[in-house]
Symmetry: C2
Amino acid sequence: MKVAIVGATGETGSSIVNGLLASADTKFDITALVRPTSLKKPEVLDLEKRGVKIAAADLGGPEDEITNQLMGIDVVISTILASELKYEIPLANAAKKAGVKRFVPCFFGPVMPARGMLWFRDHKEDTLNHVQTIYLPYTVIDVGWWYQISLPRVPSGRLDSVVGVTGNRIAGDGSTVCGRTDLRDVGNYVARIIADARTLNQKVFAYTDLRTHNEVYDLIEKLSGEKIEREYLSSEQIEAEIANKDNIDRLSVLQFQKSWDLRGDNTPEYARYLGYQVAKDLYPDFKGISFEDYCKEALEGRLKPLYERRRKATAAA
Amino acid sequence: MKVAIVGATGETGSSIVNGLLASADTKFDITALVRPTSLKKPEVLDLEKRGVKIAAADLGGPEDEITNQLMGIDVVISTILASELKYEIPLANAAKKAGVKRFVPCFFGPVMPARGMLWFRDHKEDTLNHVQTIYLPYTVIDVGWWYQISLPRVPSGRLDSVVGVTGNRIAGDGSTVCGRTDLRDVGNYVARIIADARTLNQKVFAYTDLRTHNEVYDLIEKLSGEKIEREYLSSEQIEAEIANKDNIDRLSVLQFQKSWDLRGDNTPEYARYLGYQVAKDLYPDFKGISFEDYCKEALEGRLKPLYERRRKATAAA
């Protein structure tokens, strides 16, 4: 099965490359679609060493050139930055012209209402509407909230390098369940889903762990022996901060918290209501990395921070 | 099963009232939600005589008053004018508060992409997004193109009173299939669908007949012995007329024609791709009025024109 990936060096893209390369069930022939100006970057050369084909593609350029790069490709997977989602439109058009059999637009997040909850989720829905308008076979994959952005700060400071984007702030009373997945498992789920005829033209919710924000903190307290400071934010506080949106990254986090912490959207029940298939039903044999094991790794200092390259670049700038 | 209907005196609403009253499988207790100013209209009094309860509801008024009218109701069905779709938002909120078990928003049209095809279809999608955001159980029902707006003019003039909104104009080459339903069967489909647990939180495409625009005209030529003038419009002509939109009703017809005549959206294949269930799969025993029988009725002058009251009102004004 020939798979082309946009964003293969990003966090989600890397997990997908790893998952496809490690797949025992299906042999994947992987092509990374890379900006012409990025062909010589170390992370792209790394991919090449690992057997990934590299193809130059300028998603802002002529659609026919993208089409040429997609000829013979079975599955196109997009893991694109929120700010670049508009480039999925020419990518989808090219995939249609090239006869691609399945297009996987960039979702890979928590389950939530289609529109009006998270600013860039609306753009993802625009892509899906376009995909459906051009009658392109597709699969939407959501993976819930990553373990990797779930951990709070503990007094000893030993989680500081891997603390999640919500810090120690809990929206609501912390009693709402939320589906979570180890980022390293995203590719393992994707390898199953894109080789599965049952998921064609469907949405799939692939999550490993389901627990409340309080239960996350309780577990870490138990494993660490440390007491975690918990800052509870009311619905009114969250709404006021959202209305005050001065920073787009901060806005995203608040909107995520409103959705999964306050509203409780990111659950298999709500996903089923929205028409998603649930990966646990499709692949009962696949267990994934447990959240408890992830927390132990984190507490033992065995994890690398996320977005390492981006942080280094920011530090250097 | 207690059902409340908005728009019970309109074309779709009347069909639904008839279908529910005639249902042999399920006993429906029907309430028509009527504007306070319309309570004494003859068509409302007619409903009352037929055993339909009448409840005053001002959808632009306080939500709590609508909620009170919906207490104890199992299913709410909206058949509201395109220009009034915004009132489905307070109606859905009230249904949620009243504990309604299934909300049927006003779709009842051809299958097409969710957004960007037909101006008021976008508003229907806004309602659906809102329904899903408040986690209200729902069913979307689309019925394709009505027989009642499908007929062309024939030279003898005997179809003039029942000629369809597309007149004798065919978008494209007339070879695209289109799902059609007799308006009088809409209620019969609805009676099945709202009593069916399989359709909860699903979209259903209920159509009876599937044929091309050319095949419609061929059939009428065969049955009438008359030659039908066929005006074929290219994709470019349709797009130019859409861009030129000077009249909202005319725009709607052009956008419908683009969707089902040019693109071929209104088919069971595309519906399944979009995640719809298909009524023929769910209810293989239900046949519906055949298109051929409808055409015979029309040619024999046995049909009343649609929107009779509206035409009379326009003529009087």
